[in-house]
């Protein structure tokens, strides 16, 4: 009957595993290992790349000496430089300019033609860096404007700089014949202001000369004297230093006792004293050693005789209507008395120093970019226009060339995360504003408003999405007819794959204007529908069983949906009526009483109302997040063993009790995963927020204002960011933060999920 089993002795091969089976097994093991390693390498590689891009933001400046050139034995009054730092000049008392060529190390004295044969001893000079003009004052009370007229030609990438200086004729200024001690020159193109500090017989005087350019049809036109002013009476005390902003509409004078007087030129052409203050009034020695305008001419840098260093900026004091100087920054004290203070045309950096101490500082961030003890005693210094070279003149008349490598002076921990007192602001702020209208704009790279915006957007999206997604998942998995479940679930999964740009487009073009007009309707529906749903649930449970038995469990929605839809429509239509009753306010434009939520909200709360607001984002981003949370949570809920549900039912629990007490806790790990993946999606979501938020980097929780998220910021600004600039690297830092944020969220989620899974694991 039965076939005999083959003999073991004769057929050993039966037990051997096939060669191909073993080979495939080994091959697949290697392939899978390789694939896994590649994935880890790729992720790690991206991380490293971003890190590498971000790293330079946190580096200090590097300054190295290139060469030093000895100069002839003469007295020099000023040190100026071309933008490359290749051909600096010094002005000698006899009016000659001494140019030093960096490449050859040779100096050449070039006579300047003032159109005047009589010799004048130059006793004061000031450079207007922006216009590359030097104002010189003489011992006999005259002034002239000198221009070095640099021309640079790049030959094979190496700039070759030549200069052919020219000058205006000497003219009288101020007190006739009085020696000019200090001169300042402001030039806004249309109007120029020359201010001199003179001394005669021990009496100091300050005079100003306003020049205006008369435009003629032919040629450039000529400067004409528009007004002369004696400012001595307006300045209390004995002035020792005068400054003029490049706009040429004001004068700042410091006096020997450390008082600063700020005079402004009013529209009638008269100087008015605007402010008088003592920057170091709280110190024992309040005398000011050095003072200068910071690039942009809205901030003043002061160095005290004792080495203290403060920055004062013009801003509207709280409640004030005139911009006045107030202290915004304090820097670490220098050990010695500062003797020079130079600024640059590139950014808000300045170099302050005295004796052999030199410190390169950045005004915005209060950061010391570089500080060193020099091997010589510097008497003067200059930073090249490109912020690439620093030149020092020492007391032995040697000119030292230093290379300055500081690509991101405006960066650092404080700039990116700290609260900073920006120029013109009346308090410290976190602010993001990467570009402005002018060259002297102070970039604001605080990432805090963006992190805030990311959290705000995520929060509003989650507030909208989580209840809907979780309740929908619970209903679908526990209460809905299984046949319908088979339709609902794939539909939601298709929703998850909707491109977010479509959602963003819809939000910006359709939803935002709709919501803007219909806030009261929306309010009614949002409040009314959940209440109605709960009430309907209660009503249904109170119905006698004879009525309820006609509706099979799982198909209650057949009754429920039409009622809710109808109610929703009624509430939506009631919106305008509700608005005319509840949201009446005065239209700020016409002064009439209007019923308009858009005016009511700012009038009552003081917060703004924007069309592209967090409500729209929360609503639309919620749409992107709901399907993700729904799908994962629904899976988790459906996978709860039926035995547990049956056990609960057999204990006399209702469907709701079973769902809430048994199913939800058991599925909590999976639900939590869904929430976290949804959160990750909301944090990283870009297109919806780019299109529907207005991209305003503001920091307020107001639901009717917009926001700017880290991801949207990258999308909006990266196309405009010059390669390897501070902005470019800051955007990469934003990307790194997003990376770390998602990493942190996922890690935390995984830890919690493991914990929940351990707690609610089933047999």
């Amino acid at each position: 009957m039965a076939t005999p089993l083959p003999s073991h002795a004769t057929d050993r091969k039966r037990f051997e595993t096939g060669v191909w089976t073993l080979w495939t097994d080994r091959l697949m093991t290697v392939v899978i290992k390789f694939g896994g390693a590649m994935v880890i390498t790729a992720v790690f590689g991206i991380f490293l790349f971003i890190l590498f891009q971000v790293f330079p933001l946190f580096l200090a400046a590097r300054v190295t000496e290139l060469k030093s050139v000895p100069l002839p034995d003469a007295k020099f009054t000023i040190l100026g430089v071309d933008e490359w730092g290749a051909k600096p000049f010094l002005v000698k008392p006899d009016g000659k300019m001494l140019f030093v060529d960096f490449a050859t190390g040779k100096e050449s004295a070039v006579p300047v033609d003032f159109g005047d044969s009589a010799p004048h001893e130059i006793t004061a000079a000031a450079i207007n860096k922006r216009e590359q003009k030097i104002a010189v004052g003489t011992a006999d009370g005259k002034y002239a404007l000198v221009s070095p007229d640099y021309k640079s030609v790049a030959v094979d990438g190496v700039p070759s700089v030549s200069a052919s200086p020219s000058a205006s004729a000497f003219k009288d200024i101020g007190v006739p014949g009085a020696k000019v001690l200090d001169i300042a020159y402001g030039d806004s193109g249309a109007q120029k202001l020359v201010v001199v500090l003179q001394e005669m017989d021990g009496k100091k005087s300050v005079s100003a000369l306003q020049l205006k350019r008369k435009h003629s049809l032919l040629g450039k036109g000529a400067d004409e004297i528009a007004g002369t002013f004696d400012l001595t009476a307006l300045i209390p005390g004995r002035p020792d230093n005068i400054l003029v902003p490049s706009t040429g509409d004001g004068v700042v004078a410091t006096t020997e006792d450390g008082t600063v007087t700020y005079l402004g030129l009013d529209p009638e052409g008269k100087f008015q004293p605007l402010q008088s203050f003592r920057p170091f009034g709280d110190l024992g020695d309040a005398r000011i050693a050095v003072a200068d305008f910071l690039f942009g001419d809205v901030s003043l840098i002061f160095g005290a005789v004792g080495g203290e260093n403060r920055v004062f900026s013009l801003f509207y004091p709280k409640g004030g209507s005139v911009r006045l100087f107030g202290q915004t920054h304090e820097f670490p004290k220098l050990a010695c008395r500062p003797t020079y203070l130079v600024t640059t045309l590139r950014n808000k950096a300045f170099l302050i120093g005295g004796r052999n101490e030199a410190s390169l500082r950045y005004a915005t961030t209060e950061a010391i970019r570089w500080q060193a003890d020099l091997p010589f005693t510097a008497t003067n210094a200059v930073i090249s226009g490109k912020y690439a070279r620093i030149l020092f003149l020492d007391d032995e008349r040697r000119l030292h060339f230093f290379a300055l490598d500081d690509p991101h002076p405006d960066s650092g921990w404080k700039a990116l995360f700290g609260k900073i007192w920006y120029e013109g602001a009346s308090e410290k702020k976190w602010e993001w504003q990467s570009t402005g209208g002018s060259d002297d704009f102070e970039p604001k790279y605080s990432l805090i408003p963006l992190i805030f915006g990311t959290m705000k957007g995520t929060l509003y999206a989650m507030i909208f999405a989580v209840p809907i997604a979780l309740l929908a998942a619970l209903y679908t998995s526990q209460f809905l007819d299984p046949r319908l479940r088979g339709i609902v679930k794939p539909t939601m999964e298709i929703m998850a794959s909707l491109p977010s740009v479509v959602l963003g487009f819809l939000a910006a073009i359709y939803i935002a204007p709709l919501i803007e007009r219909q806030i009261p309707s929306l309010l009614l529906v949002t409040v009314g529908l959940p209440i109605a749903a709960a009430a309907f649930g209660w009503f249904w449970s109170e119905l006698p069983i004879q009525l309820r038995k006609f509706i099979r469990p799982g198909t209650e929605w057949l009754v429920f949906i039409p009622i809710l839809l109808g109610l929703g429509w009624i509430l939506w239509s009631l919106g305008p009526a509700f608005e005319s009753v509840a949201f009446v306010t005065t239209d700020p434009g016409t002064g009439k009483k209007v019923a308009d939520f858009r005016y009511w909200w700012p009038a009552v709360t003081g917060a703004s109302f924007d069309q592209r607001n967090s409500l729209v984002v929360g609503f639309m981003m919620g749409f992107a997040v709901i399907p993700i949370i729904f799908t994962i949570a629904e899976d988790a809920l459906s996978n709860v063993p039926g035995a547990l549900k049956t056990a609960s039912m057999a204990c006399g629990a209702s469907r709701w009790q079973t769902a809430m007490r048994i199913v939800v806790p058991t599925a909590s790990a999976g639900i939590f995963s869904g929430l976290m993946i949804g959160l990750g999606r909301a944090v990283g979501e870009t297109m919806i927020v780019v299109m529907a938020t207005g991209n305003t980097p503001i920091m307020e929780w107001n639901i009717f204002s917009g926001m700017r998220t880290l991801s949207a910021n990258i999308a909006v600004e990266l196309p405009e960011a010059p390669h390897a600039s501070t902005l470019y690297r800051t955007l990469f830092l934003g990307a790194l933060l997003l990376f770390l944020l998602t990493f942190a969220i996922n890690t935390l989620a995984e830890i919690l999920r493991q914990h929940l899974r351990e707690k609610y694991k089933t047999v």
Binding site: A647, G652, Q657
Partner: protein, 258 residues
Amino acid sequence: MNEPAPGKPDYIKIQDFSFHYGSKQALFDIRMDIPEREVTAFIGPSGCGKSTLLRNLNRMNDLIEDTRSEGDIFVNGQSIYDPHIEVISLRKRIGMVFQKSNPFPKSIYENIVYPLRVAGQNSRAVLDETVERSLKGAALWDEAKDRLHESALSMSGGQMQRLCIARAIANRPEILLMDEPCSALDPIATVKVEELIHELKKEFTIVIVTHNMQQATRCSDKTGFFYLGKLIEFSDTQKIFSNPAKKQTEDYITGRFG
């Protein structure tokens, strides 16, 4: 202790009951009277419908889609298919123990008080009293009293099954349904559960489905033999096993088929 009053002989009355899973009929015109405070065993080969009938006694089959029933079942004179009857309160009267132990992923304590909690009972004293009574009733008190707040899933298989029994009797139901409660247990645990059934019948009407004929002889008072969805024979256990009236019954209990 007073001997309890003799129970009604037709405490559960099953009248011409048929049951369909979709197009497949699982039960054919079952008619039987289950007496009060006795143990009634359902035996029969796999797929004979004994579990289906048991699950209909507390309408657990309602949870399965696409089923329908004919005929009626009365518990203590009241139809359980009466539309006035709330299924949830019906299930509160009828406890159930399943073939595979299914403790909730909660503590031992919370497992036992679950039927009370869903009934709205949250008084600490009542819950504590119930836990002790139910665990003693399920002969688990000594093993579990020091670990009431540990996870129920840390128990052994036999302990879990007795925990499920404790849970089923926690809210003092009138009837206890047991669906092959010992099939996944080792012999020692089985003996414990059987001893337990003996104890419990003083208080509850017990209906037990079993594959194990020794078990049916050991612990039941009445036995029903099912075959292919039909009730072949139903009488005292003694009679069924010593002197069955039907040939099929005899074949089955002597192991000729099934």
